[in-house]
Amino acid sequence: MSAGGSGGSAGEAIPQNKLIVFGVVGGLVAVYLSYFLVSIAGSAFAFIGALGAICAIVWGCSAVRRVASYGLGTGVPSIGMLALGMGVVATMFGLAVGGIAGPVISLITAAIIGLVIGVLANKVLGMGIPIMEKSMTEIASAGSLAILGLSVTMTGTFMFDEVLTYVVATGYIAVIYITAGLAILHPFNANLGSDETQDRTLVTGFEKGAIAMLIAGIVAAVSNGAASTPTILIGLFIWYTAFTKYRELVARDAYDVVGTGLLPTEEELE
């Protein structure tokens, strides 16, 4: 955990508002689509939930990237742990009270808690980061959607009884917490530096989201409502595609990629 970069907004080719739409719409549509398809056509469609989680994770990465480039005073990881902490409380609340509207209520609750913490950070703690309120709202919402998507993939439904029995009581919620949390915070942390680029960070988000999907696929083996094999295979495919793309972007951005060799010479460093 090293010191974050400081000052100013990071350059971005894809505007944040597009990513918000991508995350919210992609996340919610996937969660509902997965739920209805599973109940109509069978458990194999549970994987769609995880696709929604990936959308939310990529959105979350982008929000972390924007806020963390201001320098938080402590490591980037803190914000991911915060996001999922808020997200898990909000998500369980939404699912428990909401029934069919559960995912929407979860999202709104998470956004409210996130907004409040963002306001507190600036007004009470005096952090003075202009986008703190907006980013905290986004990060908490993304965390909540990621938890929702992965829960649906594990159980095939977002009805609270099932989620409670198969995800919470068994403790698999902990694995959702950390795989989604790291998928949101790791991409920016892993690409941190002076020459960080937005597309590379977001591709890392896809790649880490695919790992979360893969793990959710393995856990789905426990539940009758969700099939595990399609999720694992599709997760592997997304992971491979994203990782290949990531390697290309690394080759594009890096000073040099060498098999082995000595350090750059003094003349080279001039």
């Binding site: 913490i117 409670l164 029995t165 403790g171 902990a174 917490y177």
Partner: protein, 239 residues
């Protein structure tokens, strides 16, 4: 829809205790002597890691102890005290081994750069600070402060867990434990991060001038935890 007012009036004490637990955690983080990245290079007094991580490590160890104790007894005081003891042991052991590494592995005496004399032992500090650093290791005052921080953090975490387990609910025991434990973890993280932002990631202990900023973090945690407490009590109570 669930009967929001009914559940809240029946469990108002739980909401209060959870909020109190969150505020305790927030306060506790200010006691934990954490030097962040510079301390890992022996360039600053305190433990060489991040505030959130260490507070979480200690508090969650306390939660494990409290969970074990909750299985054996109904006494709230005992559960909460066990949480505090578990967290104190974790942080105490971490700090003593940290001292071994600073003294035997790196060869620097513990010294604080924020005060000239250790408020507990009255030892001179400034001349033991090596050139170009902000102190290193864990002088007695930081060690004691860390123990207090661990105790408060464990207390807070256990209080949250105990309160969540006490909400009147129709859940089975397994489901209740699952839900209460992950809520406790989530609320713990929220309250570990808020104070870290308040102190900017590093603090030496209660003698550090930054410690005076704690009311701000505790206020922020009050609001944030209250929201989380309402959401979690409604979740558990509504089932």
């Amino acid at each position: 829809m669930i009967d929001i007012v009914g559940i809240l009036t029946a469990n108002v004490l739980c909401v209060v205790l959870i909020t109190l637990g969150g505020m305790l955690i927030s306060w506790s983080v200010h006691f934990v002597p954490v030097g962040g990245a510079p301390a890992a290079m022996a360039q600053a007094t305190g433990i060489g890691t991040g505030t959130v991580q260490l507070a979480a490590g200690a508090g969650l160890t306390g939660l494990v102890t409290a969970g074990a104790m909750m299985n054996m007894t109904d006494s709230m005081a005992l559960v909460v005290a066990s949480g505090a003891v578990g967290a104190m042991i974790m942080i105490g052991v971490t700090m003593i081994v940290g001292t071994w590494v600073y003294v035997y592995g790196v060869g620097v005496p513990p010294a604080s750069a924020k005060v000239d004399y250790d408020p507990i032992t009255k030892d001179r500090q400034d001349i033991y600070v090596s050139q170009g650093t902000e102190g290193h290791g864990l002088p007695t005052v930081s060690f004691v402060s860390g123990i207090i921080g661990g105790a408060l953090g464990g207390l807070g975490g256990a209080l949250i867990y105990y309160s969540l387990m006490s909400v009147s609910t129709g859940l089975t025991a397994t489901n209740l434990v699952g839900l209460a434990s992950i809520f406790a973890v989530g609320i713990f993280f929220v309250n570990a991060v808020i104070p870290s932002y308040n102190i900017g990631g590093t603090i030496e202990g209660f003698h550090d001038p930054k410690f005076k900023k704690w009311p701000k973090a505790v206020q922020a945690s009050f609001v944030a935890t209250l929201l989380c407490a309402l959401a979690s009590v409604l979740t558990i109570g509504g089932l």
